[in-house]
């Protein structure tokens, strides 16, 4: 895989614009007034393609996208947009042998808007899908990702965080281990404030011939206010004995001893909570191996906590 990097931008405005020129790789998206559909297809494994999604539209964004990452190819999608008028994403991805797909979403949504994100992704042999998603939630927020690890050595690493003051967010993650020797590692953290109600349901399915499976799923929640709610629902359906699994879910209020320690140093209640939240989320920003994005994720957390 080449280290040559090609950067381009997909800009949602009245129509959809592509900035940057592509060689053999193809991006084909059409539409207007916020309704866009099309595909991204990578065949050139000599360069790593970074696609930045940029929202400049006054409409709600309805995006329907097909992604095909060819053998040995590397695709990175970064979405750091604000979606003021809501969004509805439907993505179907296919990773062909030895390919990598990194998806970063660091979004700020208008709390009054309605947003949804649906992603279905199939991984072939030796593929890796890295999925990192940070959001502030919105009035209605539904996110569903279905990952199928279809061949040997397919792996998924992902983490998500919702930090919200007023949201009704549902996050659903389904990981299907359909081949032996596949790995999945997921962490979900959420901070619920105000009257937010945040649900995470994570399902790990391991099919019966999937020996040598590794799967980790951790979900943690921090309930900051009396009326805030968090509901973590981990589910396991494991049909093979040769599986190394680490699963855990826990949510609760912040540790008063830590908050008192911070306050005893002169830090205000608000700042103490902010530092606490940053610490809570900061622990897993480490999972992002891409340095630049790790920094951005960290800044995102600081800006929102």
């Amino acid at each position: 895989m080449s280290e040559k990097i090609l950067n381009c931008s997909l800009i949602f405005s009245d129509v959809i614009e592509l900035e940057g020129s592509l060689t053999k790789n193809k991006i084909n998206l059409k539409g207007e007034q916020g309704n866009f559909d099309g595909s991204i297809k990578l065949t050139d494994s000599t360069e790593r393609l970074i696609v930045n999604l940029i929202n400049k539209s006054d409409f709600k964004i309805n995006l329907s996208l097909n992604i095909d990452v060819g053998p040995n190819c590397f695709l990175e999608i970064r979405d750091e947009s604000n979606y003021d008028n809501g969004s509805e994403f439907k993505i179907e991805s296919k990773l062909n042998k030895d390919s990598i797909f990194e998806l970063f979403r660091l979004n700020k949504f208008n709390p009054e808007s309605v947003n949804s994100f649906n992603h279905k992704i199939d991984l072939s042999g030796n593929c890796e899908f890295r999925d990192f998603n940070f959001s502030n939630g919105s009035q209605e927020m539904n996110s569903k990702t279905i990952i199928s690890l279809k061949e040997k050595n397919a792996s998924y690493i992902g983490s998500g965080a919702v930090i919200s003051n007023s949201t009704n967010a549902k996050n659903e993650l389904i990981i299907n281990h359909l081949s032996k020797s596949a790995k999945s590692d997921c962490s979900f953290k959420t901070v619920s404030r105000g009257k937010s109600n945040i649900t995470f349901s994570g399902m790990v399915f391991v099919d019966k011939d999937c020996s040598d499976t590794e799967s980790t799923q951790i979900s943690k929640g921090l309930v900051m206010d009396e009326e805030a709610r968090i509901n973590l629902i981990p589910m396991l359906d494991i049909n093979n004995d040769d599986v190394v699994c680490a699963h855990g879910a826990a949510s609760g209020k912040p540790d008063e001893n830590i908050l008192f320690y911070l306050k005893s140093r002169g830090i205000s209640k608000e700042d103490a909570e902010k530092i606490y939240i940053e610490g809570f989320l900061g622990e897993f920003v480490d999972k992002i191996s891409n340095d630049e994005m790790q920094k951005k994720a960290f800044n995102y957390i600081t800006s929102i906590s």
Binding site: E256, F260, S264, G266, S268
Partner: protein, 243 residues
């Protein structure tokens, strides 16, 4: 500068401090000794404003202000510093970031701009060196996985960075090795001044040999039962509390 009058404090419905009165003047060092469970940390936490310690009655004046009306952060900004007996771990936040942040809230109170990154590093280097704290400890999460002694040194470092006018050290010496005990005492002695006071809670004479206290109080069952000069500490060291 600190006046405690007939203080009664309870924790979880248990009456701990009983009619405690104590005056600390400017520049004075008071040592408090007393058996386990006698309520020494309870005074420390009550002064710092830990909400688990309920003040049932009594008064505390600090710099002529009613301390009990202030929340913990305002007490700190007014110059009170508690070195915790059991420092708290704060995962996910690096020590350097944390230390800089606490320095900056105190600077803000003084009307100063946030400290420049380079200047802070210099300050941190200098103060860490004095306490024999390796710089790489600052890139770890606050107190997380620190050894007992490292946690205590980190408390002393915070004291040194914040320039408090009243320091309460709650068994800071427990867990420190001989050298660390010495460097901690040196840090205290350097900070010793006519307008800075100390309350030193300890079980051991050792620390008090380095930091010579002006007064020694013996604490038992939530109240001071005897006060004296530093010879009292020697007597307790030899005879124990029952003697």
């Amino acid at each position: 500068m600190l006046e405690i009058k007939k203080l009664n404090v309870s924790v979880e419905d248990k009456h701990i401090l009983k009619d405690l009165s104590l005056n600390i003047g400017k520049g004075e060092i008071h040592a408090i000794m007393g058996p386990n469970g006698s309520g020494k940390s309870t005074i420390a936490h009550t002064l710092a404003g830990n909400p688990n310690y309920l003040v049932q009655s009594g008064q505390i004046e600090f710099h002529n202000k009613n301390l009990l009306e202030l929340d913990p952060s305002d007490r700190s900004l007014l110059g009170l510093f508690l070195a915790f007996q059991y420092p708290i771990e704060l995962p996910g936040v690096t020590n350097a970031t944390y230390l800089k942040q606490i320095v900056n809230v105190h600077r803000k109170k003084e009307g100063l701009d946030p400290i420049d990154a380079g200047e802070f590093l210099k300050l941190l280097r200098e103060k860490s060196k004095r306490l024999d704290i390796p710089m790489d400890m600052h890139s770890r999460f606050v107190n997380t996985g620190f050894s007992g002694g490292e946690k205590k040194k980190n408390e002393v470092l915070q004291m040194d960075l914040l320039n408090p006018s009243l320091v309460i050290m709650d068994e800071t010496d427990s867990g420190l090795d001989v050298d660390a005990l010495k460097s901690t005492s040196e840090a205290v002695n350097q900070l010793r001044s006519s307008d800075r006071s100390f309350i030193i809670i300890t079980h051991y004479l050792r620390l008090l040999e380095y930091i010579e206290p002006d007064f020694v109080h013996v604490f038992q069952d939530g109240a001071i039962v005897e006060s004296g000069d530093k010879s009292l500490a020697s007597r307790i060291d030899q005879e124990g509390y029952a003697g």
